[in-house]
């Protein structure tokens, strides 16, 4: 059994930032199913929000207001206030750590416009901001290599949670196939989002909600799972992200008639309205027969008027992606796009100090922390503003580190039954490997993704959600007979993919359950049959957990409102 003071699962921005806070002070380990530089934080493109006020007047208070409004008032305002006030120092620190940011004429960090932000607030590194930040933290991890133990390519199997405290994790070393317990006084999850269950998604293959499902299986609740953000500009059919920075820099959205249709949906902010609004506008255009292309099923983003020089300097990556994947050079032609599943607002409920809650009353789990996309703190509420995710991960990664340091004073390693933990994990894998198998994982996965995109997408209603739920039940049943050919131990990616699929099948049902219950439209959750926001009945967070019999239980938790009372969202 391996033993550390702290084990962090996930080596993206949240995990690495927390590790840096702890390095040299306590014995910290980082477990990741991919090498840290492969983490999906690196795929974030457009920017990171902070009221640096480099390009115009700005303030954390204004940033807070924009975020609360963007969240459709579901965000917890105490946490949002902390995030927006911590933002400038957190970004300044990142810069001092060496992050390569684009610069303005005075040599300060350059900032650009972004959807839903009323000021140019997005600090950026061309259109590779997440990559620049992730690699900066990864660089720092070499500096502290003696103080941080990395378990790269170890796959999280279980959270060890017992009698109100987290005590470590069970994980598989992919290189050897060995299952190991990592015993710790404190556990931090920075395991990312769950957008992989959708057919059209910007998410990496790795974003399968392993962390949130480990927490759920351990008996902990998840919060606001029904809120999945659809990014307005995913590459047509691929779902690959075309940064919102393309619109921040002045790009237009055009329908099949080459009209800037956003005029009808958000007259003042146009293309820079928040993502939920823009994605719905696009979907409406497509649904009403005004899409582009032979099947009228996509929208254009048009950058031609920005000119070659600006595109090459500020949007080089998305230009290359459109060339590589669609053969379209945005200097000469508009790019076909469509809404793509992008960000998980829901996740593991946690306090503003990243302490995980075990119920809707706010009971804190001892020694368990969550930060970044896997967490629901909730700073994004029903809809996240672009550039607030890199900020969330960095600010709360940093806070989690500080919070854990405080907790460790007087904390000890609670006992763990290593043999039993390993046996349970082993059994889950052996069941997959050795039960009579007839079902193709590929078919199950494809059918799941199709069902989620078709029926639990930008627009939802009772019938479609019910159809999806029924399909889920069928797929879960078929999965019990899934076929895994690879019985080998060394780097068995087939077994990992099967475990990931199990997670996707389980959490997809939680998304649907939350969505079925929530009979209103708020942020990214848009019900055609309940088209308006209902603050009287639904100004509350969904808390979903497994009942004693394994059945899904829904409970609710109030939203923290401090400074801003709900009002109608107009852009």
């Amino acid at each position: 059994m391996r033993k550390h003071d702290v084990v962090i699962v996930g080596a993206g921005l949240a995990g690495l930032r927390a590790a840096l806070e702890l390095a040299g002070k306590v014995d910290v380990a980082v477990v990741s199913k991919v090498y840290p530089s492969r983490s999906h934080s690196g795929a974030a493109q457009g920017g990171v929000a902070a009221a640096m006020a480099n390009e115009s007047d700005d303030s954390p208070e204004l940033h807070m207001y924009d975020t609360v409004k963007g969240s459709d008032y579901l965000g917890d305002q105490d946490a949002i206030e902390i995030m927006t006030h911590d933002a400038p120092i957190t970004i300044t620190e990142m810069e001092h750590l060496g992050c390569v940011f684009s610069r303005d004429a005075e040599g300060r960090i350059a900032q650009r416009e972004f959807g839903g932000h009323s000021k140019p607030r997005a600090c950026y590194a061309a259109d590779r901001t997440g990559h620049a930040m992730l690699h900066t933290l990864y660089e720092q991890s070499f500096k502290y290599k003696k103080d941080i133990t990395f378990y790269n390519e170890w796959y999280l199997l279980d959270l060890i949670y017992q009698d109100g405290s987290a005590r470590g994790i069970v994980a598989m070393d992919m290189k050897t196939g060995d299952i190991e317990v990592i015993h710790a006084k404190a556990v931090l999850f920075g395991t990312g989002g769950y957008g992989r269950a959708y057919k059209i998604t910007s998410n990496a293959f790795a974003n399968t909600g392993d962390g949130i499902m480990a927490a759920y299986r351990a008996g902990l609740p998840l919060e606001d799972m029904e809120f999945v953000q659809f990014h307005p500009t995913g590459l047509y059919q691929q779902g690959i992200l075309m940064s919102e920075a393309a619109r921040g820099e002045g790009g237009y959205l055009l329908n099949g008639n080459m009209e800037r249709f956003m005029e009808r949906y958000a007259k003042s902010r146009m293309e820079l309205a928040p993502r939920d609004i823009v994605s719905r506008a696009e979907q409406s255009e497509i649904n009403e027969g005004r899409g582009a292309g032979p099947n009228k099923d996509y929208i254009y983003i048009d950058l031609r008027h920005l000119g070659r020089e600006k595109i090459l300097e500020k949007l080089p990556q998305i230009r290359q992606l459109a060339i590589d994947f669609l053969g379209v050079d945005c200097i000469d032609n508009p790019i076909p796009i469509q809404p793509t599943a992008h960000y998980s607002m829901g996740g593991i409920p946690a306090s503003k100090d990243c302490e995980v809650y075990s119920d809707e009353k706010g009971t804190i789990v001892k020694g368990f922390y969550a930060a970044g996309e896997c967490s629901c703190i909730s700073v994004h509420g029903a809809n996240r503003l672009g550039t607030n995710s890199l900020l969330d991960a960095t600010v709360f990664g940093r806070r989690a580190g500080k919070s854990i340091l405080n907790y460790l004073v007087g904390a000890k390693h609670e006992p763990v039954n290593e043999a039993e933990e390993k046996r349970k994990a082993r059994k889950r894998i052996d069941d997959l490997l050795y039960t009579p198998s007839t079902e193709s994982a590929n078919n199950i996965r494809n059918e799941l993704k199709e069902a989620m995109t078709t029926n639990v997408g930008v627009y939802r209603d009772k019938e479609r959600l019910a159809a999806a739920h029924k399909k889920l039940k069928e797929l879960q049943q078929r999965f019990t007979k899934v076929r895994v050919e690879d019985k080998g131990k060394v780097f068995n990616t087939e077994i990992i993919e099967a475990l990931e699929l199990a997670n996707m099948l389980a959490y997809s049902e939680l998304i649907i359950a939350g969505a079925e219950a929530r009979t209103e439209s708020r942020g990214a959750h848009a019900r055609v049959d309940y088209p308006t926001r209902d603050d009287v009945n639904w100004m509350k967070h969904t808390m979903v957990s497994a009942g004693a019999d394994g059945a899904i239980q829904l409970k609710y938790k109030p939203v923290v409102v401090t400074k801003h009372q709900p009002e109608e969202r107009k852009y």
């Binding site: 492969r38 690196g42 795929a43 810069e95 610069r103 690699h135 660089e139 293959f205 780097f491």
Partner: protein, 328 residues
Amino acid sequence: MAKTKFLVSRYDAARDTKPYLQEFRLEIPQGATLLDCINLIKWTQDGTLTYRMSCRSAICGSCSMKVNGHARLACKTQAADVVIDGAVTIEPMGNLPLIRDLAVDLEPFFDSIDRVKPYLVPDESRQWKREMLQSHDDYRKIEDASTCIMCASCWSDCNVLEVDPRFLGPAALAKAQRFVHDSRDSDTIGRIEFLSRVTGMWDCTHCAECATRCPTDAKPLFRIKELRTAAMTHKITNNNGARHVLAFRESVGGTVPGIGGGMLNENYIPVRSVGFFNLDGILSIIPVGVRMIIRGKNPPILPHIIDKFGEVRAMFRRFNDYRKEYRK
């Protein structure tokens, strides 16, 4: 559409003594990337096929593999573009120990990054209240290197690493350039001195495989050249590589009297490179000299002076002006 032959390298240490190519047949779907195809093979034909992948948008660097002999990102490659006579050959990256099928052990690669102190060493007396300022021009000097995604494609195809695993390798040198040229870094000289040692920047042989295989703007060869320019500019020249460059300057530019004029003095280059007072070095170049004299292959004793050498001399007399103008 006809099915394409995918010849995929397979290896499982529990079963195989060495890797072999297995043939799969697949119809390439319209617009499919190579990664899409490999996934289809794994998901519909052989679940045991092993490789890495994650983001499928060319930013995480997981899926580099040798395609028809050269490293590239499977996710960034249109499959139809790499079919040769109806077939695609897919093998693991080079210069790294094999784990299984297309998955290699990346530790030597990441260890190389570790060796160049891959993090900013800022001035300790700086003010913490705001960001450090950096001009747009200074940002541009480090932008290209900063786009590296650590996919190890450069490492895979590097010719020097094939003969010398101690070589720092292209990615680490590109990473080093990013700090040598970072206006915020305070260890420029220390870094250049370290990188000037054997196994460092001067050990690159310009095969340009790295710059060719790199899927981003990092293009290590060009970063290595910038490192060498930095070494020459900072006059950190106490090594064979840098002296070799000085020998070019002196004989082509005629900046040392009697050494040359417009052309290389091939008799001067080796002696100057090993150092005039380096007895071992001089001894080491004697055998080839003797062999060449025996065959009459040795260059003429008197240096060749080109016609109109005055024009070239005039350019070399403004050596520092050229450097300044280039930096502008």
